[in-house]
């Protein structure tokens, strides 16, 4: 693989992420793709802490911390300010967790997307409220243990389909990505930077303590998510349909992904089948008939 990535670093040593954190690795590569002319807006999430305690900071680009529900709106204001001051060359990026995107921040996200605000919204989805101690969010997958779903998230509540929600707003760019596939992720961030209008990138962001895995397995488990088609790597094409940017070879089964994490320990064989059925329906919605059977 030939991969040209800048050696410049916009994320510094001394950040406060847990070992194996997908969100910290993702930020490092995202900023490499976006470059120094980037303004980051972060609502309440793990990154409120990862970024560092005053007066330290892990980023060498400007960063605005904002309340939980307001990321997309604050970023809209930052962007409009750039327009008002004719400094439009910079990228305004929201960097929000799944709680701040799927749940409490969804209204502001919808508003900004509807207004076609010229911002890049990145959701690093670790599938629960990890910063507050692993509580269930609407991004938590069925069956997963969290501290508020001690028996596993009930199967009648699926993981919310944020991609379809965002697509309904006619955005300028949509992609899913995972830092375990850095070339794919990097290329998508470059495209997202270049697009004009509302852009949305959904990252699967592994959380070793929340997913109950060893930190050295973080990238391995991330890859299992993609290979088993739990988290397909997608991009919105010009005709606004989704297409795959990576084709799994089909050797990894859903059960391999489930069994790699202790958060899914309570799942029965039947549960895994229901999980598989849900994923099939969702992927079919995203990709039409063009999915692996």
């Amino acid at each position: 693989m030939l991969w040209n990535v800048t050696t410049a670093e916009y994320m510094n040593r001394g950040h406060m992420a847990c070992p194996g954190c997908g969100a910290s690795l993702s930020m490092r590569h995202a900023l490499k793709a976006l470059g120094e002319s980037t303004i980051v807006v972060i609502p309440a999430c793990c990154w409120s802490i990862i970024a560092g305690i005053f007066p330290t900071t892990a980023l060498s680009v400007p960063l605005l911390h904002v309340p939980f529900a307001t990321a997309a709106a604050c970023a809209s204001g930052v962007r409009r300010a750039q327009v008002a001051k004719k400094r439009t060359e910079s990228t305004v990026m929201v960097w929000a967790g799944d709680g701040g995107t799927f749940d409490i921040g969804l209204q502001a996200l919808s508003g900004a997307a509807d207004r076609h605000e010229d911002i890049l919204y990145v959701c690093y989805d670790n599938e629960a409220y990890m910063n507050t101690g692993i509580q269930q969010s609407s991004a938590t997958p069925c069956g997963a243990w969290t501290s508020t779903s001690p028996g596993g998230k009930e199967f009648e509540y699926q993981k919310k389909d944020i991609i379809s929600i965002v697509l309904a707003h006619a955005p300028a760019y949509v992609a899913t990505a995972c830092v375990a596939y850095p070339d794919d992720f990097y290329a998508k961030m470059v495209k997202a930077k270049q697009a004009k209008g509302f852009r949305f990138v959904h990252l699967l962001s592994v959380c070793p303590p929340g997913w109950k895995i060893d930190s050295q397995d973080a990238l391995k488990v991330s890859r299992l998510a993609v290979e088993s088609d739990v988290f397909p790597l997608l991009e919105m094409a010009e005709d606004r349909s989704l297409r795959r940017t990576y084709e799994p070879d089909g050797t990894v089964q859903l059960s391999d992904y489930i069994q790699s994490q202790k958060r899914f320990r309570s799942l029965t064989r039947e549960d895994i089948q229901r999980f598989a059925d849900q994923i099939k329906v969702r992927n079919n919605r995203w990709l039409g008939g063009a999915i692996r059977s």
Partner: protein, 387 residues
């Protein structure tokens, strides 16, 4: 008014809301973000019309909620812009979290609130519960009696917020001010420009000089930051005084945090804030004619509370009746608590009567005030007096 400025100003018959919009326009905000709510709507309708016609060169963000309105303003202010929003009642309540956040972040912002009751039950009329229940959020709070004051105060508030790096809320009574017409003096752009230079941000989100804003602070650092906020708030009366002088020089009118009307010989002083002051002024004329030694104190500044001015204004008057349009249930009128607290250290404490004058737009006529004075002897010193 300075003669030149007077020549350049125009006399206009304007709706209170339009006076606000003109005040905002004169301040040349870079970004306006707003969500409609009665009785604030005319303000944002007029502003969006001004932006649409090119009369006002601002980014206008039509957000999906009040929370996002103030959030967008916050993002703009953090980016070195002059921002403005307007709201009312439930909208201000929805902004509550951001009110704290903006003040704590030390970015400038001006918000106009059209005072209105909060439900349930639904009620769209004038009531100061919305803003007075936000008095602990770190915002300067100014209250207006007239549309002229509203217009002038927005200009002064914009000057002030950029001096102190704390947000300022300008309150106008819903409908009473927002939906009535008033003849007023509209200053010329050049005179406001001379008073209010472009915002020169001391810090901002800037890729060429990157900083992080709002990062988690340790308890000790947090305490120091809040102490600094409180200290700045203490300096506001002096800064406002300077701003008021400057405003008088350029626009010809002054801001008075606390106004005394016939308080020198008063045996009873009525204390009020906002647009009902006019009604009390009217009542005062007939009360004085009938031989009642009644005075009036109008509070235009509620945060910071003008304690020293109030002590001076009250003098040796033995009895104060505070006319409230907001209640802290279980503790009485909100304004009464402020007045009592400010006068507590006086060696000769006056009686401070708590009177709940109007809530949810309950009509107040000059006769209502005369009736209160007639029943003065019967008013409770301890309990709230509901009329």
């Amino acid at each position: 008014m300075p003669k030149d400025a007077a020549d350049r100003s125009t006399r206009e018959m304007l709706l209170g809301s339009d006076a606000v919009a003109h005040g905002v326009k004169l301040c040349r905000p870079d970004v306006i973000a707003a969500y409609p709510i009665t009785p604030q709507t005319h303000i944002v309708e007029t502003l969006s019309t001004m932006v649409d016609s090119g009369e006002l060169d601002s980014q206008y963000v039509k957000v999906e909620s009040e929370m996002s309105a103030i959030a967008a303003c916050y993002g703009a202010a953090a980016s070195g812009c002059r921002a403005f929003t307007a709201t009312s009642s439930h909208g201000l309540a929805l902004m509550h979290e951001m009110l704290h956040w903006v003040a704590g972040s030390r970015f400038p912002l001006v918000l106009v609130n059209a005072n209105r009751a909060l439900g349930a039950p639904w009620n769209i009329w004038a009531d100061q519960s919305d803003s007075l229940s936000q008095r602990d959020t770190g915002w300067v709070q100014i209250y207006c009696e007239t549309a002229q004051e509203a217009l002038d105060n927005i200009i002064l508030a914009t000057w002030l917020t950029e001096k102190i790096m704390l947000p300022v809320m300008v309150n106008i009574d819903g409908f009473i001010l927002s939906h009535t017409m008033e003849q007023l003096s509209l200053p010329a752009h050049e005179d406001v420009d001379a008073f209010l230079p472009p915002y020169d941000p001391p810090y901002l989100l800037d890729p060429d000089n990157p900083h992080s804003f709002g990062a988690a602070a340790t308890p000790d650092n947090f305490y120091q930051l809040r102490k600094s906020l409180a200290k700045t708030m203490r300096t506001v009366p002096r800064t406002l005084d300077q701003g008021s002088e400057l405003l008088a020089r350029h626009v010809g009118r002054r801001f008075v945090p606390l106004e005394c009307v016939q308080t020198e010989d008063a045996e009873i002083i009525l204390v009020i804030t906002g647009a009902l002051t006019g009604t009390v002024r009217e009542a005062l004329v007939s009360l004085r004619r009938d031989g009642h030694k009644i005075g009036l104190i109008k509070l235009s500044l509620i945060r910071p509370f003008p304690q020293a001015d109030l002590v001076k204004a009250v003098g040796t008057c033995p009895r104060i009746i505070v006319l409230n349009r907001a209640v802290s249930y279980g503790a009485g009128g909100t304004l009464t608590q402020e007045v009592r607290s400010a006068l507590y250290h006086l060696p000769h404490k006056p009686q401070v009567i708590d009177l709940i004058l109007s809530l949810g737009g309950k009509e107040v006529f000059p006769e209502t005030i005369e009736d209160i004075v007639a029943k003065n002897e019967d008013l409770s010193l301890v309990d709230s007096n509901w009329f």
